[in-house]
Each structure stands twice: as C-alpha cells, then as structure tokens.
Symmetry: C2
C-alpha cells in the first residue's frame, strides 16, 4: 500500500533494540537469574514465573531495568520459598547493576540514518525505559547531537502518544515513529492516524508480541534494516 509521508515534521525513534542492543541483555540477565535459582526449579519454570512477576508489577513499577531488578528479587524470594541466600539476593542486585553499566552497541546503519534525517526533520527519542538509563545510553552512543530531546512515556499506548503529540503541538499526520515493537512503536500510532515504520529486532520480549489479527490491514511499512528508512521518506 502507498503511504504518503510528505507532511512529516517530527520523527520519533524508539531507543532499545531500534538504535542499540537491549533485549539481548535482558535475556542474559534471565539466564543468570535462572542459574541462581536452579536448585529450586527448572529453568523454564523460573523464566515463566519471573515473566508473570514482571507483568504483575508493571502497573506499579512500569518499564525499565530498576523495575526488572525489583521483580527478580521478589520472584527469587517466592520461587525459592524464601530459602534463597542473602548472597544470591546481592547477586540479583548485581545482575541489575551490570545491565545499567553495559556498553552501548549501536545497530548497523543507525548513525548514518540519523545524520541524514536530522537535517530535514526534528528527531526525538521516544522510550518507555528509565530516563536516567536512556540519557546515559544516548550519551555513551554519541548520538545526542541528532536528537532535539528525549521523551519518556510511562507506556506506549494510544493515549500516551496522543499526549505526546499535544505536547509537541503537532498533528498525527506530522509525526512518524520508527521502532522494533509492533505493539509499542507501530500499532498505536497507526490507530491514531500517525505514521509508523517497523524495523524488527531478532528478539522480542513476550509482552511486546502481537497477533496477526492485530496487524491485519494496518497502514505501516516493515523494513529489514533501519537504513531503508532514508529511501522511504527522505
């Protein structure tokens, strides 16, 4: 289907797994967490219970690494029936600290794309992680100069994007979002008549997965590399 991008003024980029590697570090952390609890449960069960705990805590803690650490501690207590050692609790805290201290690994082509697009559009980083963590990653990435500012959204549902557009003082047709998550970066935008381009990452968190029914007939493009954005809209 033909999509008309000519009114776009502001482009929002998702950060994690769109500009740089992130989900991979969560998967590694889950493996480390599983090893700490391996005397109590199968790795599969440990994973499932941690995921349930994260989802239960989402309304209270929101997204980001700090929320993830707190859910690991709580899940570790419960899954071990409170037999987990205090040294293992400390190890969980350290898994989280290691995640926050990870180097930033840019995805292929990101900087070239930002360099080109920033000449013609106002670029913003639109993320639902922790602000401090995202600022730190942006700083480490060397990409700060391409972005007008960072927008942290407590969630990426239609209502959050409506607030964002209101705050940016632009119409939906003037906004394009680019990201790896159909659920968070694409479908809510299409539903409010804004633009979205989907750039899949090889790993997707279960919470971000959507059914084919949800994507059926929706007006967005999927591209295999962020480098293709330039051909579509520049």
């Amino acid at each position: 289907m033909e999509i008309d991008y000519k009114n776009i003024k502001v482009i929002g980029f998702d950060a994690d797994d769109t500009l740089w590697v992130n989900e991979t570090y969560f998967r590694e952390a889950e493996v480390a967490f599983g090893n700490l609890l391996s005397e109590y449960e199968t790795l599969n069960k440990i994973d499932q219970e941690l995921y349930k705990k994260e989802i239960d805590n989402l309304p209270l803690y929101g997204y980001g690494v700090k929320a993830f650490i707190l859910s690991m501690v709580e899940s570790g207590l419960e899954q071990s029936n409170y037999n987990i050692s205090t040294k293992s609790i400390e190890a969980i805290l350290n898994i989280g600290k290691d995640m926050l201290n990870k180097p930033v690994e840019l995805l292929d082509g990101v900087e070239d794309v930002l360099k080109i697009l920033s000449k013609k559009y106002r670029l913003i980083l639109a993320t639902k992680g922790d602000l401090l963590d995202q600022e730190r990653k942006l700083e480490k990435s060397g990409l700060t100069k391409y972005f007008h500012h960072i927008e942290v959204l407590s969630d990426k549902q239609e209502v959050n994007y409506c607030k964002l557009l209101n705050h940016l003082d632009i119409k939906p047709s003037e906004f394009l979002m680019i990201g790896n998550s159909l659920k968070s970066d694409v479908l809510p935008l299409v539903n409010i008549k804004a633009h979205a381009i989907h750039v899949p990452f090889h790993t997707t968190w279960a919470h971000e997965q959507v059914t084919e029914k949800e994507t059926n007939g929706k007006a967005y493009k999927t591209i295999s590399s962020i480098k293709e954005v330039v051909k579509l809209i520049n």
Copy 2:
C-alpha cells in the same frame, strides 16, 4: 530586592513537597526500615548507612521510589552482614510498594493557585521522580487539567534546566520555577537567569540541603505558602 516577572510564559512546578506531601512518606519508610534492622545496629547508624547507600547509587539508579527500594535492599543485606531474613527482604519490598500506593495529600492552597495561574500561563510539572509514579500521583490529585504536560528531569542541575528551556523553545527570562528545594528548584534557575520562587516544606532530605553561602545575594523570593505566588506574579 525587586524582581520583574512580566516576561514569564511558562511556569514549572516541582511536584513532591510542593504540590503534595512526599518527604514525610520517605521518613516513615526509613523508620520501618530501621525497625527491620534494629537487632543489628542503632537506628541512627541504620539511617546514616542507608543515606550513604542512596548517594552511592544515585549516579546509577537516579531519584525516585524504585531507586530507594533497591538501596534499602542493598543496605539491609550489608548492615545485617547478610544475616537479614528473606522475610525481611520481602518486607522491604513491601515498604516500597506501600509508598507507591500512598494516597495523594495536596498541600494547602495548591489547587486554587493552579486554577488562577493556568488561565494566564502554560504550567508544567517538572520532577526528578519516576515518570509513572508522578503520572499516577498527578492523576490521583485531580490536578491533571491544569498542566500542559509532565517533564521528568534525570537531575535538577543547571544543565538539565538548560535542556528543558531549549526543548520548550523559551528564553530563561520567560520561565519561572516554583518548588520547595533551594538546591533543585531555585538556585540552578537563578544561576541560568531564569526565575524561581521558593516555598519551603517542613522536612527537607539531607541531599537537598544547601549552605547560606550558596544562597547569599541570589535573586529569588521565599514565600511561606504557595498561595502567595498569585500576589507576586498574577
């Protein structure tokens, strides 16, 4: 000293302890934490060590309740020499969850002031807490309608306010910040030639305290109640 407020276009309000009670809940949480550890140390020492842990973790975790919970867990492990029970670790997590679920207690006069000022100025909420937590408090407070949007700052230093003004596309002389913390809501603004009004709260976190030398000769007003703002600038 006479201060000229006539160019102001946007007013930033700090949230915690400016619009609603907050520090009181941290003090209560510290008491509950102290009770959990009272077999290992004096309450005074427990408090001091927790504070040190919070400051050590600030660069990594930033501000807000989730950071505070993580620091309590870590400090509890260390202060008990890893003898703390797993049930007490769970109790620490619950202290944090209780904080996040607290009702919002508005400070006297807040709504009247916002109602009046929102007719003439663009009001924003400028906070360094967790976005989700602050959105939830704003929602519970019933004050959402007076604010254009929420700005979360990872810290409230001059550089963060400069970024904010750039993002709002206004000059320093067009911005007024109102808040309870001299360190976070007043001095950095005055130093970048923006306006600030100080409304003290009865309790101030040690990290937010400043010396008389830092405030000497600085161009800001201190008022005893937020209600007095209207007389100054409306």
